[in-house]
Symmetry: C2
Subunit: 412 residues, 2 copies
């Protein structure tokens, strides 16, 4: 019984942003119904994949949802999908999509069936062009500000960050518009583009203002923390750590625990700088690093980890994904957000629930992703409220499918 | 009159995630009150900065908020902040923070003043250790999966992605818990850590499952799109473009518009591969790139941009921040999410409002960030409901401050 218990959201989607939004809602207790073609959506086989070829990506992005497989290329299939989206209920009539199709799943068409519908539609860009995380990121400039100082090669991020950020906004926009509907009775269309999410962020971070006022923007700075002090260091055991001196306290903690206050003060004097000023640390970062580097090079992580934690230093180790999964207790069943569960068709592995803790709600058991079409019959019955004979007809005509349904029927 | 009009949220914060969350709410029409020390918070001088030294970061992250400057190191200052957080109102009693302090701004202490308080608290990690985007990212593995194939150096992202993702979750968690309060009358504490946000994402993206089932995880792949086809290409004019063949349609579009279907078919035959399978494109990506590279190297972007757009190819150019700001109409007043506004003390530049379009609400004029303490007197009067003489006393004692207040009083 999560915080959103009772809410029903229908999702027509593929890839990251909107599926992640739907899953975020599902993991907070909402009933989220995703519909796909009987052959699967565009992300049905998205990598990473299991040894048996099944998509681990799809399993990851659709946890806790109900899945209905409908051939929405047929008129009847489309009508059923619309019935499900617009089904009655005060806490229903909520739709999220990145696949809005004019005349079918656009807001106006759906609102003709349910006037108080709230829909959130994510598109590529405001011109109607396709755009994905991999194209938006280069367009707004981050890859040219990533990687070693002096390099000229752009470096794309590995995390689909814009998708994940947009996914959070899809949730926020839906909840905001539903909040308004509850007070005023009116639904609305909420529109968002991936490109605008990135464009707005450039402004929020001060990058547009910097360009306007100084004619410049930041360039590549390796793994340095921009505008203050933060750096990666190689240790004696071959491990690499990241150490932060962003706030005054972080900076002081770092000097204290390494015992390097004196040479650092001498450096400041030599440069005529005051390292209490974060900008002074940024300008002097190479010299500061030259003082700190030998300290780390002479020590293994185990030599300083405990004292760093005790002193409240803000630091971490660089790890590969595999190292992180094998070494970090936060990526283990020790962390209550994770459960070891059986994912049908794939096996048993560690699966995250919501990262939220709601004091008013028990943490729910993590629900695996459905098989494609696993809830087709149930959703047709309890949401679309179709009579049994009509459901049977839809199965017979192949307009809807459900894995193992024939076997189920024979057994019953 | 935005979609969240009437809602009041109080924010105690610094840096990216929670300030961004508050601003997202403010740009949807909520009244967001941020309180800081009279000398400013930890991010008061965060880079980027203007030529006059003022923080463009602070201006970027606090647009549309009300700012009150209170010395919360004094008992009276703390009490006033608590009064503001817990002030009456059905749509108030909402608090977001990444600076929760036991015995003062923790949920239990505040809930003693207002039982139905909804608070969202973002922390570093579940162990109480400090963590920031710059340390969480290395810990979960992304920098070791970023950058050129074959390299061993970790590459940190330039976008504070985890902070931005967490900021969206702070908004979502707040709206979800407020929705529950409206139905059931009960408030609650919502907790979240930056580390858990990243840990959960590793699972959502299928990376934990991949490791569990195959013993492996992805490594560095340069600017290639993981698991399908997508690549950057150098063009004759020195520009670099990103081109995507993730879906079957994107892949077909790319072949059609470049006229390279035949050599690509020959390559597939030679490799015994079927490029309709996205995984086959991933495995053969270097060979595919070898066929496409000369095509791009022989052309300037202007030679193919129009035909790419007409054919619906998913592509973009790599740009520096400056190039993006100077060249892209989506980063200009042509884009309705942006306005040229005067930011007090800084000057006139392009500022983004919310990337959302709500069909039920006019797009609001973008409101600049306040000066630190700009709304101190007003918030003390209309939220804390303090009488005039008490407000005067607080100013006299230096417990609260407001820029130019003496001048204002003399003028009135």
């Amino acid at each position: 019984m999560g915080v959103l218990n009772g809410m029903r959201v229908v999702e027509s989607s593929a890839f990251v942003a909107v599926p992640l939004a739907g899953m975020t809602l599902a993991q907070m207790g909402a009933e989220v119904i995703r519909f796909d073609l009987p052959t699967g959506g565009m992300d049905a086989t998205r990598w990473p994949i299991a040894p048996n070829g099944q998509s681990l990506f799809w399993a990851g992005m659709n946890k806790g949802k109900r899945s209905i497989a409908i051939d929405v290329k047929t008129p009847r299939g489309r009508e059923i999908a619309q019935e499900i989206i617009c089904a009655p209920g005060d806490d229903a009539g909520l739709f999220i999509t990145n696949l809005a199709t004019p005349g079918w799943t656009d807001h106006a068409t759906l609102a003709a069936r349910r006037a108080d519908l709230v829909s959130v539609t994510l598109r590529g860009d405001r011109h109607g062009r396709p755009a994905v995380d991999y194209t938006v990121n280069p367009a707004v400039g981050f890859p040219m500000a990533t990687g070693p100082e002096g390099s000229t090669d752009p470096v794309a991020h590995a995390l689909p960050a814009w998708d994940a950020i947009a996914g959070g906004l899809v949730v926020s926009g839906l909840l905001a518009a539903e909040r308004h509907r509850l007070r005023h009775g009116t639904g609305q269309a909420v529109d968002l583009t991936l490109k605008d999410v990135a464009a707005a962020m450039l402004g929020h971070l001060g990058i547009i203002a910097e360009h306007a006022l100084t004619g410049q923007t930041r360039g590549r700075a390796g793994n340095s923390l921009y505008g203050a002090y933060g750096q990666d260091f190689q240790c004696a055991d071959g491990r690499r750590v990241m150490v932060i001196g962003l706030t005054a306290r972080q900076w002081q903690n770092l000097l204290k625990v390494t015992g390097l206050s004196e040479p650092m003060a001498a450096l400041a004097t030599a440069l005529g700088a005051d390292f209490r000023d974060e900008g002074a640390r940024w300008h002097a970062r190479h010299a500061i690093t030259a003082i700190l580097s030998p300290w780390f090079a002479a020590r293994s992580v185990a030599d300083f980890a405990e004292s760093f934690d005790r002193a409240g230093v803000t630091w971490s180790e660089f790890r590969s994904f595999s190292q992180a999964i094998e070494e970090d207790p936060d990526l283990s069943p020790d962390n209550p957000i994770f459960s070891q569960i059986d994912q049908p068709g794939l096996g048993r592995f560690l699966v995250p629930g919501t990262p939220f803790g709601f004091s008013g709600h028990e943490r729910e058991t993590v629900t695996p992703a459905p098989l494609l079409g696993q809830h087709t019959e149930a959703v047709l019955a309890d949401v679309a409220r179709l009579p049994d004979h009509e459901i049977a007809e839809l199965f017979d005509q192949g307009i809807v499918t459900q894995p193992g349904r024939e076997a189920l029927r024979r057994a019953s």
